[in-house]
Amino acid sequence: MAPKDESASQPIIIVGSGLAGYTLAREFRKLNQDSHLSIVTADDGVFYSKPMLSNALTAKKNAAQLAMKTPQQMEQELAATIISETSVSAIYPLKHRIKANQDYLHYSYLVLALGAEPVRLKLPGNASNAIYSVNDRIDYKRFQDAIVGQKHIAIIGDGLIACEFANDLLNQNYQVSIIGPGPKPLNRLLPTPAGDALKQALESIGAKWYLEKSVVSANHQADQISLGLSDGSEVVSDIVLSAVGLRPRTKLAEEAELEINRGIVCNPYMETSDRDIYALGDCAEIAGLNLPFVLPIMNGARTLAKTLAGERTRLTYPAMPIAVKTPALPIIVSPPAADAKGEWTIEHDGQNVKCLFENETGELLGFALTGSCCGEKQALSKLVPMVLA
């Protein structure tokens, strides 16, 4: 048995093979070619682009075509051991080890890149289990197989993923009904005129909105599913897709008695409450921020790679505009910080909306652009403050 002070010779273990885990490994290898690196993943270890799941139909990609690299290619490129189809069930911080399936693996440093999981609605009725959600490539395959030959798809949720899927399905001539609690889509992200413009744009290609309503039941009705809504009405469709939000995966960390809030709590050095365990990506709450988007992952991965290579580095986030992939009306939004004080000023010309969030002294703190206004993204991005300085 290895004595404790040999933990430094143990591999760095990354748990998770999504964009966060694999990008970290890639960035780490640019800085360090010698340390042992293992990646443990419950998934099959295929590298694919998660953002593409919500526009894969239009891009004419099936689940197999979404795979960019096999686990074997990744092992070779990253000089890492990839342990796939393996769930980590426990972390023992004091012993520097994890339980992966039936085995115990020792680590020098552990990185939790566990991602987030879709919130699943527990609805009364006999069709609750027939509702799809798509959060990885395997889910996507199931969904894509299910919609073949079907006509009408109901989407529960009015956020970013829901709108992207709606646009993708409408492009394939499905009838799409969207049910959501907000007065307009993307309510938390967009000021009213921009949200309204998106609502109209999706309507113009066939979307049917059921806004300010929630789903209260799901029942099979012949070959279809009937969703009961909060106002007493119903939506009957062939397939139901739920996209009501994501929840950081924190259970493993919580059971290891790491500090948890919305996500796994990290300081700006991405250290959890255990100094040899880090968290990255959608599962992490770094300096109070849980940002389940691509750019925070890329920035986090580069910073943590430096730290793991021996140069302890503090995370900063530049402005990170989010592109909403709704081709019916492209949207770019750089949301103001949650505690930012200021007001929106809005210019619009039909569907093209430019919204600027400025404080009293006229400093730009955030923006939202739709349609042809998206061209101003680069110029405006240079003006907004860093998300984490």
């Binding site: 964009l19 990008t23 682009s49 953002p51 593409m52 891009a59 960019m68 691509v294 750019l295 890329m298 990170m320 505009p321 989010i322 592109a323 992939k325």
Partner: protein, 54 residues
């Protein structure tokens, strides 16, 4: 001329075509694109592109 692919969103930069909407003229070699350029679809940096083997 070569093609480069964004590892995050799959977007392809074709040197022959450039990316005129993004201010990059046809025929611009990937290494000649400014370093602060970002993927127009997902926003990641030039470092997150990889040469596509034909």
């Amino acid at each position: 001329m070569r093609k480069w692919q964004c590892l995050v969103c799959g977007l392809i930069y074709d040197e022959t075509l450039g990316m005129p909407d993004d201010g990059i003229a046809p025929g611009t070699r990937f290494e000649d694109i400014p370093d602060d350029w970002a993927c127009p679809d997902c926003g990641v940096s030039k470092d997150d592109f990889e040469l596509l083997e034909e």
